[in-house]
């Protein structure tokens, strides 16, 4: 389908332009103005992304909405963007989450409002750029640039240990990406001077370089996902980040890693991917089972959800390396669904934190007596996090487990443990926080959620239920792309 309007560029640059405008409002005197501009920017950003869904041709396997311009000739780098069934849902997810984050920080952030809102808008644009890039260098620039706003968000508005968390986040991610950069440069040489990702897909590479490239990619993406054992930055970053930061981190930034596996690792080095698939599956299962156990023991709500994110993302990597349509599609559904659920969970914790300024489970108890509406929403999201049928959390996990079953019963058995572990850590936390008698005076003072918070949680609740009951619109758009991808990946490049 030809689509002449540069829609993707608009989706990428509109939030960035708004972000700069928000920065320009400057001082906290203009805080209200900054808030309204960012709200307008983020909602517009979502609206312009809708045509992407409407005009997307689900039957086509080629890239759509493609734009290509020379960026700098010296290294044959192009501004080349386009989407397929893998990247399009993720762009929509990102554009959907951004207004929620702006609303979530509406009253909570009182200092340096313009910088906070501006950073989120700019990051939203940058992340869209990551998903849409078809040129490795363009991808890399967006990929690295996304670190900068997040680093500042954690470091400026975070909790007491924020400096440690921010620097850890930055250096961990940078380590992986720098090796990826070397891999890109190597591929650039091998392909005779091209940074086009699609050229890399067709490039024949011998076995040993494939393994090395796979490892370079793995470090970059595994840190982002994050996979066990390079996940340790995530709990730190989540605990210290402000609520909006946690939401974006869990809902969007982790998806960058998963996306990377699908766009780079699998199609560029398919033989290495097959060869190392067992290792990847084992690492994923460790994340699912071991991190699930770790999550049970947490006393800090945000840390618990952070560990639960690691476990859920373990399902994503597990699904990818089954090389099976169910597995990959399930993993994609899981990514989108995790975006909604983890975002909602962090918002729920944020609601409590704004009132009591504590994230410790022990400081709560009997919240339902004072905040019934909140407790209902929290219940829904907790159930979704545990993978209850009818919520989006179930769909992805179920598909991945089906895919795993085809490969090995024991893999599937271990993967299915998540349904027990997830229920254990989520619902036990829920019980201790929400149910029971009011044990402390601070809880006695709680007020139920405001209209602003209600709107936020209600929107997310609708998405979680919609995707749980009727995931077809999502699986439909990515079906063709994933089939094509799997055919490609199952052909040896040697």
């Amino acid at each position: 389908m030809s689509f002449d309007f540069p829609l993707l560029s608009l989706i990428i640059w509109l939030p960035i332009v708004f972000g700069v405008a928000v920065f320009a409002t400057g001082h906290d005197r203009n805080a209200q103005l900054a808030r309204y501009i960012s709200l307008a920017g983020s909602i517009l950003g979502f609206l312009v992304a809708l045509p992407l869904f409407v005009h997307f041709d689900a039957a086509a396997s080629a890239m759509q909405f493609v734009e290509k311009h020379v960026w700098f000739e010296r290294f044959n780098v192009n501004y080349h963007v386009g989407v397929d069934g893998i990247s399009m849902p993720l762009i929509l997810l990102n554009c959907f989450i951004t207004p929620l984050v702006v609303i979530a920080g509406w009253e909570v952030i009182k200092e340096r409002v313009s910088q906070y809102m501006g950073a989120f808008l700019i990051m939203s644009g940058i992340v869209n750029g990551v998903f849409a890039s078809l040129d490795a260098m363009l991808f890399y620039v967006f990929w690295e640039a996304s670190l900068i706003p997040m680093f500042l968000i954690i470091g400026i508005w975070g909790g007491p240990n924020r400096v440690y968390a921010a620097i850890k986040f930055f250096l961990y991610t940078l380590l992986g990406s720098l090796l990826m950069l070397i891999a890109f440069i190597y591929l650039y040489q091998k392909s005779g001077g091209s940074f086009s990702i699609q050229d890399y897909h067709q490039l024949a590479i011998p076995f040993t370089p494939q393994i090395l490239i796979f490892i370079a990619f793995l470090l970059a993406f595994a840190v982002k996902v994050p996979m066990w054992p390079v996940h340790t930055w995530l709990p730190d970053a989540h605990v210290e980040a402000p609520t909006g930061g946690s939401v974006v981190l869990a809902a969007i930034l982790l998806k960058l890693g998963g996306y990377g596996f699908l766009r780079f690792s699998l199609p560029i080095v398919p033989d290495a991917s097959h060869y190392l698939a067992d290792m990847m599956i084992v690492l994923s299962l460790i994340a699912v089972v071991y991190i699930g156990l770790v999550a049970i023991m947490q006393v800090d709500m945000k840390k618990l959800i952070a560990y639960s994110s690691v476990a859920h993302m373990g399902f994503v990597t597990l699904g990818f390396f089954l090389f099976d349509a169910y597995g990959v599609e399930g993993a994609m559904v899981q990514m989108v669904s995790h975006g909604f659920i983890s975002g909602a969970m962090f918002l729920c914790v944020g609601v409590l934190y704004d009132r009591l300024h504590s994230r410790q489970i022990a400081d709560y108890g009997g919240v339902v007596n004072k905040m019934p509406a909140f407790a209902a929403f929290f219940m829904l999201f907790a159930m979704a996090n545990a993978g209850l049928p009818g919520t989006s959390g179930f769909v992805g996990e179920f598909m991945v487990i089906m895919g795993t079953m085809k490969v090995s019963f024991w893999y599937a058995f271990l993967a299915a443990l998540t349904l027990i572990l997830g229920a254990a850590y989520t619902l036990w936390m829920y019980k201790r926080v929400v149910f029971g008698q009011i044990t402390n005076a601070a809880v006695e003072e709680l007020n139920d959620i405001s209209k602003r918070e209600f709107v936020l949680l209600a929107i997310l609740a609708m998405m979680v239920l919609w995707l749980g009951v009727y995931p077809y619109p999502l699986t439909d758009v990515m079906h063709t792309t994933i089939d094509q991808l799997l055919i490609h990946v199952n052909n040896s490049k040697l």
Binding site: Y140, E144, A145, L147, I148, A166, L171, L178, I182, I185
Partner: protein, 481 residues
């Protein structure tokens, strides 16, 4: 035998510069204390005049003069034009600083101009002696500049150290050149290259000479293990002088390496590649690791310079136009970043207060968000994070290294730059995550304001559109080879 006067035209900018240095010196004697800015203005006019002269003589052809001792080619012209711009920016940035510290004297300006003259001669040299003379004009002026505040023990110590080690390095260089002369029978760069190509009998002598020359070069570049002087000099010298030492001479040093190693000893590249690999790795390791431990920002930036020089040398390892132009691009990016960073340090200085420590950046984002933002751009650029120009500089060099087949070297380089990222992040941490210790307003002159903002934005804009600068670098190198 009649005397044929040489063609002066290719050296017109050097001659103009020499005359103007004398004019500045004399003018300073006659004007009163209150009119010291006249010397400043004269200096800026001189740089402008040189720029015009260089621009006029711009051509793709290499023109030799003074019996083949002096060359005017596109590499020389481009490097010189960049040098003028850098020196001019240095002076604008340091004007307030030096006037608050009683350094606003004719000596400062004439020494800076003399040093610039030395750089120009180095850049245009096509003979080992010319190279050496240019280097000495530059070095001697720099020694004096470092010691300009003679009542400061730190500055005096730094100057002594700089002088002793610098003299040693010059000795190395001369010794190496004499051996090359012994082996090839010439000091003229193209003739040396030709002699080597035709084959020389005393290959060992030539190689030993090469080793001495490379040692001398690494002294001047402050590449490890010949880097010892840099931290002391950077710390001890007045910040304005540190800014000068850290910026413009890097262009001259690049020209120096090009003329000596590439144009003169290019046919021995297989011999010097290995040496450069060791120097580059050591510089990146020592520079980046030692910088972590520093609390003095000038000292930290000195170590950061050492690591950047390691990166710069990486570009030469591939020994082709692609690599050299990557190195040139790296130098340009590096000088832009250094200018901005030291300008920021001087901005934090007040009369009676020297901003020396990294903690002086504390809470800058609250004191002045705009300059904090510019420093943020500078730091991310130094760390090599896109979309800042520092990233493309690293990308260009790394791709040359991988192209030459040294993938492991590229991996080592990125790992060291990961370590490097930590100490740049620490400055950002102080600026953005900490509370300010003082509420002293930061209010520079208008020219500094504009230039610093432009400098900061150049880092970002040239990062988003690097094509032009990459094109210039490639053009300069290709035309001179």
């Amino acid at each position: 035998m009649s005397f044929i006067p040489p063609d002066f035209a290719p050296a017109s900018s050097e001659i103009f510069m020499l005359i103007m240095v004398c004019v500045v010196m004399l003018a300073d004697l006659t004007i009163g204390k209150s009119k010291r800015y006249v010397a400043y203005l004269l200096t800026q006019i001189t740089l402008l005049g040189c720029a015009v002269l260089t621009f006029k003589s711009f051509s793709d052809e290499a023109v030799l003069t003074f019996s083949g001792m002096f060359v005017d080619d596109s590499l020389a012209d481009i490097l010189k034009l960049m040098t003028y711009g850098t020196v001019s920016a240095v002076l604008i940035y340091s004007y307030t600083y030096i006037s608050e510290r009683d350094m606003l004297r004719g000596e400062f300006f004439s020494l800076v101009l003399f040093a610039t003259l030395g750089m120009m001669v180095m850049i245009s040299a096509s003979h080992f002696l010319t190279l050496y003379i240019g280097l000495e004009i530059l070095s001697l002026s720099l020694y004096a500049l470092v010691a300009l505040r003679r009542d400061s023990t730190e500055a005096t110590e730094a100057a002594m150290k700089f002088f002793v080690l610098g003299a040693l390095a010059s000795g190395f260089l001369l010794y190496g050149m004499s051996m090359v002369y012994g082996a090839t029978g010439s000091l003229q760069i193209t003739e040396v290259a030709k002699a080597i190509q035709d084959g020389v009998n005393a290959k060992q002598v030539l190689v030993v000479g090469l080793v001495f020359i490379v040692a001398g070069i690494s002294f001047k570049l402050s590449a490890a293990p010949f880097h010892m002087w840099a931290p002391d000099v950077y710390q001890g010298a007045p910040t304005a002088v540190t800014l000068f030492i850290g910026s413009a001479p890097k262009f001259a040093a690049f020209g120096f390496v090009m003329r000596l190693l590439v144009e003169g000893l290019g046919n021995m590249s297989s011999d010097w590649q290995g040496i450069l690999v060791i120097l580059a790795v050591m510089s990146m390791a020592i520079g980046n690791i030692a910088a972590i431990a520093q609390t003095n920002i000038k000292r930290m930036l000195a170590y950061s310079t050492i690591s950047h020089m390691g990166f710069l040398l990486l570009g030469f390892i591939s020994a082709d136009a692609n690599g050299y132009s990557s190195s040139l691009f790296y130098v340009i990016a590096y000088v832009l970043m250094t200018l901005g960073t030291f300008a920021m340090i001087m901005l934090l200085c007040r009369s009676g207060f020297e901003a020396e420590n990294i903690s002086d950046f504390k809470g800058l984002s609250k004191r002045n968000p705009w300059y904090a933002f510019i420093t943020l751009l500078l730091m991310f650029s130094l760390a090599g994070i896109p979309p800042m120009i520092g990233f493309y500089a690293k990308l260009a060099v790394l791709q040359a290294v991988v192209n030459a087949g040294y993938v492991w070297l590229a991996v080592a380089a990125v790992l060291f730059s990961l370590i490097g990222a930590f100490y740049y992040l620490r400055i950002i941490k102080f600026m953005y995550f900490d509370e300010p210790e003082t509420n002293e307003p930061i209010s520079p002159n208008n020219d500094v304001k504009i230039l610093l903002s432009a400098n900061g934005f150049a880092i970002l804009i040239l990062g988003i559109f690097p094509q032009a600068l990459m094109g210039i670098s490639l053009y300069a190198i290709q035309n001179s080879m």
